[in-house]
Subunit: 201 residues, 2 copies
């Protein structure tokens, strides 16, 4: 519900109402909320209730830095550990993204993009790292409703993916790490550029 925007950041969740709506008890709901608090999706203020986490601009930039660090590390590991079928899968995803981009199927593109990054993290073979990356991405989801990229930015992103894939394919850990880190930070810049048009705070 949080990720799909059914409840908005900053919104306060009424335990009784929500438990009735989901047809579960308040106890079960509260247990789930305690878990979601630790993942960063919810904020719990004692005696005041649970709110959907507000992600400020500062928070978002921090999450980008975190993502960059994790993605770099995972890419380095992936360059050393990636299996042929791993590489094939990445290649497929990359082509699907290119197709989606040229066909203007943006929703599809975003899905594949997410899958591509997840596949890199998985290829790294470090579960805690992948898990943390996933949390950061989910947190970023809360920042602002998906800000669409311009086609030109999309092409740049695609190019970066190709470079990353190439570095991993030849098992060049250092290059893969550099490209991966830069990819996230450039993504951050693209997000900022896209926001330039109309937004305060």
């Amino acid at each position: 519900m949080i990720l799909q925007g059914e409840v908005l950041p900053g919104e306060r969740l009424n335990e009784l109402a929500l438990s009735r709506r989901l047809d579960i008890s308040r106890a079960s709901l509260r247990e789930a909320a305690r878990g979601l608090e630790q993942t960063g999706l919810l904020e719990i203020i004692p005696n005041r209730g649970v709110l959907v986490r507000q992600v400020s601009m500062k928070d978002a930039l921090d999450l980008y830095d975190l993502r960059a660090a994790l993605f770099r590390a995972a890419a380095r590991l992936a360059a050393r550990r990636a299996t042929p079928q791993c590489l094939l899968r990445l290649q497929q995803l990359n082509e699907q993204m290119r197709d989606a981009a040229s066909a203007q199927r943006f929703a599809d593109y975003y899905g594949r993009n997410l899958e591509f990054h997840t596949a890199i993290m998985a290829a790294g073979g470090n579960a805690p790292m992948a898990r943390t990356y996933d949390q950061a991405v989910k947190g970023l989801h809360l920042f602002r409703r998906r800000s669409l990229l311009h086609p030109a930015q999309l092409d740049l992103s695609l190019r970066e993916h190709e470079d990353l894939l190439a570095a991993i394919s030849i098992h060049d850990a250092a290059a893969a790490g550099d490209v991966a880190e830069r990819h996230i930070m450039l993504g951050r810049d693209r997000m900022l550029d896209t926001l330039e048009g109309g937004m305060p705070a």
Copy 2:
């Protein structure tokens, strides 16, 4: 209780017994457990209960890689953002560690060492990153009861801290990141060396 070893990794926690011992209801205990599960300290198996997380050798190595990535990123940020009082604090901690080491006060040394790393993470100014680092360190705590380092290893660690502090002091982000990452990975190697003596899988 987990971090202090009052309950051991792999141990199953009886909800009723523990709630009675802590003089709280099972519901409150369960809420806390759901939060601790997300931090990686507990593992919850449906219908079977909550266990203290077992950290295998593979898990521990993964956590070291994660720590290294986070510490590198934070050190880079710290090199750009550290204030004079931040640096002073780090300097103090470093001296306290040297004193503790030469006086063989190992418990004190470990405490200061933890503080030093935490201070670096704080100096980075990235809360989600610092939080993740803390989780990784706690997870590593579960790996094995504190394996003491040899005095020679201790000296090496101290030297690395000095190098890191120097790089941060002159705001050399690249150098700080490199030293920081290497410091964690060398710490990993020292852990492995110390374990060499007597341990199977």
